[in-house]
Subunit: 357 residues, 2 copies
């Protein structure tokens, strides 16, 4: 049924569709639906407390006996630069004034932990089949502990050099994340500047460079994209934006409305919310912050400066400061429950994989 089976066999799944474990937007319900449909459901756990992580992972386990994936950011500790904080305060101050917010926080805050020993312990208890990382890998002993416990490890690469690094570090499969992808770019080694490699160029070069299965990500929205990924040499796909329109997605009404009206050319990479580049719908804030190339505080401390603005915008229902993450193929989204979307994707991919169709 699928032209390449190494990823399917490795993960113990039926269909080579990985649901992207999106930070705030994925839910246990989504992961359960995707895993039960034969794909790899997943949950982004970086914003969770340890208790929440445990509870949600157990909820997934209760809902499916198939493999699922828990995802974590593995970013370096943010550096503290008083000067950069001060400069950033000055840049965002006019927006705070405009929104009637009292005062800009003195400094950014690290609202998101990197992967910690405490999280590792929970994982070693829960033993999901798959753990995936974004922004690189945690220290080698943690990777080894997960492997020893029978976990398979996936990680995103945005360049061939990053893919080589991950393969050498023992990752079991590599997510080749192209320029088109919504949300945070997984970039961990190369420049944050606009060098982003498109999925169609990236995938075959990564396939040639590493021996592990490659999962194509970025701009894949329907069966045509899945078939294209296989043609490029990938063994599977990761899709995030496509699942954002599912009722199982934890997104606000404005985000859902934006997806329904999405266009190909309206998203932009921005560091202005988190400190790391993420693809989101362009907005007045993103545009304004892109006017110069001044440095911003490290991920995730920048959230400390942007969160108050975003919260006001969400309450008011305007889009000036909202962080509406999605990729360049969002216009192809379908409003379907995750299980139905999976059926549709599998069917479309099968047809697109047949030549002469």
């Amino acid at each position: 049924m699928w032209p390449r089976r190494d990823l399917i066999d490795l993960l113990g799944i039926e269909h080579p569709i990985v649901q992207a474990p999106m930070g705030g937007e994925s839910t246990p319900e989504m992961a359960i639906a995707v895993s039960n449909a034969g794909g790899l459901g997943g949950l982004g756990c970086s914003f969770m407390s340890l208790d929440e992580l445990r509870a949600k992972a157990e909820a997934i386990r209760a809902g499916t006996n198939r493999p699922f994936n828990l995802n974590f950011f593995a970013h370096p500790e943010p550096r503290e630069y008083a000067e950069l904080d001060a400069a950033t305060r000055a840049r965002v101050a006019p927006f705070y004034a405009e929104l009637g917010l009292e005062s800009v926080p003195e400094r950014g805050v690290a609202a998101v932990d990197t992967f910690t020993e405490a999280k590792l312990s929970v994982l070693l208890d829960i033993r999901p089949r798959v753990t995936s990382f974004h922004f690189g890998l945690p220290p080698r002993p943690m990777v080894e502990a997960l492997h020893d416990a029978g976990n398979l490890i996936l990680c995103s690469a945005t360049t061939v050099a990053e893919a080589r690094f991950l393969a050498e570090a023992g990752v079991d499969a590599i997510i080749a994340q192209g320029w088109e992808a919504g949300g945070h770019r997984g970039t961990f080694e190369t420049s944050f500047e606009d060098f982003g490699v498109g999925t169609l160029a990236l995938v075959p070069q990564v396939v040639d460079a590493v021996d592990v299965p490659v999962i194509a990500a970025g701009g894949i929205a329907d069966g045509r994209g899945i078939a294209a990924a296989f043609a490029l040499g990938a063994s599977g796909v990761q899709m995030g934006t496509a699942f954002l329109s599912c009722p199982e997605a934890n997104i606000g009404d404005d985000h859902r409305a934006a997806l329904r009206q999405a266009r190909d050319d309206e998203t932009r990479l921005t560091r202005a919310f988190s400190g790391r580049p993420a693809r989101a719908q362009n907005s007045r804030y993103i545009e304004a912050m892109a006017e110069d190339r001044a440095a911003l505080p490290d991920f995730p401390t920048m959230y400390g400066f942007s969160d108050p603005l975003r919260e006001v915008s969400e309450k008011r229902g305007d889009s000036d400061f909202q962080f509406l993450l999605y990729g360049q193929a969002a216009a192809l989204n379908r409003d379907l429950p995750a299980a139905e979307l999976m059926e549709r994707l599998i069917d479309e991919a099968q047809r697109a994989l047949k030549p002469g169709s």
Copy 2:
């Protein structure tokens, strides 16, 4: 042999591979080899005098009795802004000083004509099967005159909106040019900023939006990319960078050496040479000019400020100011004569199009 035949039948060719008619780099020899191999060979004619255009087109006609493509820029006349010229002079002056050049030109020069009545007359004489345009279309009467003379017209679109515009304007097939593509982006309607849509996301959305055949371009380097383009719904591909390594390409030794060592993540979009965004190997000059987002003179007047710098760099053989155009999949290039490359591409694509391969 090919899963979709509308483009092949329309153009009267055998294989759905369009060799990008690159401005300075394509040659009659390249076009002849590609057309004789069953693809659509092409020549970028914007930098030519009328006599040169006529002579080279006749050389192609003498070398093949198959269809070929002559390409022209169709940009609006550059505006004259004394202030912008002055600001640009100030920005590039340190580089001029560093290279020992006497003085920065007073103003930019339009080294490249847009599509003119005189060029149209030559085309109406020569009657190539195909004329393609970049940076939009010439005025409607010129398009109609070409159509009336039996010319088919292709044009690049970089967004769905541009593709719709071209389809309504009567273009016979649309080149969906993704972010990965080397050389100048064909963008003519939407912003020049870094909104560029990746090929994998762009192609299916363009296919859904228009009724004419879609030619995928950007990041396609081998048979895998061709098969992927068909999976996405395209009826053919345009490949430029892949043909740059052919002996028929008119490129310097430094450019050829750069292609041999190309990496996925080393090119960048820059307006610093021509005034319009083009993908080229990143360099000290490109990096420096990207530090702010200040406006630059319109295409093509910016060439007037950059050409003297480029010429010194070419002579010295360093890469600081060279304009080495190529796309994100250049690392997949093969040093083969164009006819052999065509054979290889066709063979690879056939294999990649068969599922289970």
